[in-house]
């Protein structure tokens, strides 16, 4: 390794090495100590799958049995987006296209691919009911489509206002929370979906989650990809 790379002092490295080795030994012992002769929670999930409104166990866990985790997860996503927008997103040029002069091949390819990615996202959302897929995968594909368009030089369209974007970013969380609280008026506890409406409620939540996650991922990328020239000029480093 090149000696010019700044390294931690030797003492820190030795202590870190010892710490990590000791921790690794403990971790391996702990992992191997987990008994293999149990059946986990899979039978429980399989038994109650009919109550969940969906047929895929992972989706059932995410959107029904442990939907509290998912509710907090989308809250974390919204908070992280607010954080990124606050730290990096105040720059006036943030919402300009990432590439100033778009490569014509890339931009044509992006124009061709984006509709198919939206289609794939819709498919994944629908497939999540009975097969691997669901809101997170669908949202990821939707977000990737947006990142691709941004990289190919497509700017935020004029009709997408900053306020509108913030609404889209938070709509998944708002709808999820509204449904979570709303079912309490039907006599349940927080997030306890009535069995007859479970499928519809899960699908509504998933649809809005997909839209929000897609918008969040695009916003994280675009807001983070702010131009550096002004920053360089400010710090006096660079050219």
């Amino acid at each position: 390794m090149a000696s010019a790379v700044p390294e931690s002092p030797r003492g820190v490295r030795l202590a870190a090495g010892a710490l990590c080795a000791g921790f690794g030994v403990l971790l391996v012992r702990a992992v191997l100590a987990i008994p293999e002769d149990h059946s986990g929670l899979a039978p429980v999930v399989a038994e109650r799958l009919v109550d969940s409104g969906v047929k895929h166990p992972v989706t059932a866990v995410l959107l029904n049995f442990r939907s509290y985790d998912t509710l907090l997860e989308i809250a974390v996503l919204v908070l992280a987006t607010i954080g990124v927008l606050s730290v990096a997103g105040s720059h006036p040029r943030v919402w300009a296209p990432v590439a100033e002069e778009a490569d014509p091949v890339l931009s044509a390819l992006a124009r061709l691919l984006a509709p198919f990615m939206v289609l794939a996202s819709g498919y994944l959302l629908w497939a999540g009911e009975h097969a691997p897929g669901g809101a997170f995968q669908a949202g990821a594909v939707l977000g990737a489509a947006g990142v691709l368009l941004a990289l190919a030089g497509y700017a935020r369209p004029a009709w997408v206002t900053k306020f509108g974007l913030r609404v889209v970013i938070s709509v998944g969380f708002i709808v999820f929370l509204a449904i979570a609280v709303g079912v309490m008026f039907l006599g349940g506890v927080l997030l306890e979906y009535p069995r007859d409406y479970a499928k519809a409620l899960v699908l509504i939540v998933e649809t809005w989650l997909t839209v929000s996650i897609g918008a969040i991922l695009v916003s994280l990328f675009i807001a983070s990809a702010s131009p550096i020239e002004e920053l360089r000029a400010r710090t006096g480093s660079g050219r």
Binding site: V5, P132, Q137, L220
Partner: protein
């Protein structure tokens, strides 16, 4: 468990571990990030081997795709060198990515 399947698992895990070491030891940040994207894609293969297609889908799109794009953008901003301090020498341009992190140069 077939013999070839076992061999495949060991090869995949070996590559993952080797990539992890290479990413963290790599001087050139751009190279480290490219290796990290490869790491994310191999993780997606590992999820398939572990019968977790849900996670494989999310990892391929998020872990390799969006995280990779974010990291590449950040490295581009920091001019791609693992030397973390402002040096007195004139700052490099894009070619700084291709040179070794030799601070004395």
């Amino acid at each position: 468990m077939t013999y070839s399947g076992y061999l495949y698992d060991l090869l995949l895990i070996g590559t993952l571990l080797w990539l992890a070491v290479r990413i963290l030891a790599e001087v050139k940040l751009f190279k480290a990030v490219v290796l990290f994207i490869a790491f994310g894609l191999l993780m997606a293969l590992a999820w398939v081997r572990l019968a977790a297609p849900d996670i494989a889908l999310a990892e391929a799109a998020i872990g390799a795709g969006i995280t990779g794009a974010l990291l590449l953008d950040a490295v581009g901003h920091m001019r791609g060198r693992a030397a973390p301090y402002p040096t007195d020498e004139p700052a490099g341009d894009a070619s700084a990515v291709t040179e070794m992190g030799d601070g004395r140069g």
